[in-house]
Symmetry: C2
């Protein structure tokens, strides 16, 4: 039997969120949080709209998922995020004790892997899912912005 | 002339915030953000009350200060926080490009210094201000909690 709810399915939902950010002139990064094949939080980057550096997709998704669950720990949850999380978001994920993180493209400059941000020992992280698609969305955004200026 | 608005003055305001957290059963950490000797944000840890790991004092203060300033960068601002910031908060401070961070007691286990979280090159950080007072508040809180359980 084919499972329609695989990692690719949920990453595509995160990409849809990133596209919503794109349409608002925000750096296009999107995230969803899933438990038992059910999406319990969807969010996209809103740092410009809210004038708030803390309004990354992941941060909003963490808050929304905890609100849905009625508890602050995201045990048995998986975060799907289009780009590798930064220090801040990885730091928040550390506190959340989330079970799984799946990201699309790497962020070699500001991502948590090269920054060596510590994740919770219970957290598994893997990347490279729909990498080209997630990275291209970002590239297209920055090329467009450069041409506007 | 004596300047009443020195680092100690503002750290005491952060300690007042930490005391408000204590009264709510929250880990007692408080923060204020100051620009031109004026407090533009006050916050204390609310992770239990809000069921949200992202609700650290610093995170709320960053959001509130940006809201006050109408811009997301905290240039010329100083954060006073009773305990050394964690990875998440230091990561948020990195994005904010805040000019100064002054903390009270070190957090050797989860603080940004030992965790090697990267701050913005424009940010100065110093610690140890009213260290005993800020650390004692935490110690008293954890001793009390242990005795309750």
């Amino acid at each position: 039997m084919v499972n329609p709810f695989d990692d690719t399915y949920f990453m595509k939902k995160a990409i849809q969120e990133a596209e919503l950010a794109y349409e608002k002139g925000e750096i296009p990064i999107g995230a969803v949080i899933v438990i038992d094949n059910r999406i319990i939080a969807r969010a996209h980057n809103l740092t410009e709209t809210l004038n708030d550096v803390t309004a990354h997709a992941e941060m909003q998704a963490i808050t929304a998922a905890a609100n849905f669950l009625g508890g602050k720990y995201l045990i048995n949850c998986t975060l799907y995020v289009t780009i590798e999380p930064c220090q801040m978001c990885a730091g928040a994920l550390y506190w959340s004790q989330i079970s799984n993180i799946v990201y699309g493209a790497r962020d070699l400059n500001r991502g948590c892997i090269n920054m060596k941000t510590k994740l919770h020992p219970k957290t598994q992280i893997k990347g490279g899912l729909l990498e080209e698609e997630t990275a291209n969305l970002l590239k297209r955004f920055f090329i467009e912005r450069r041409n506007l200026n």
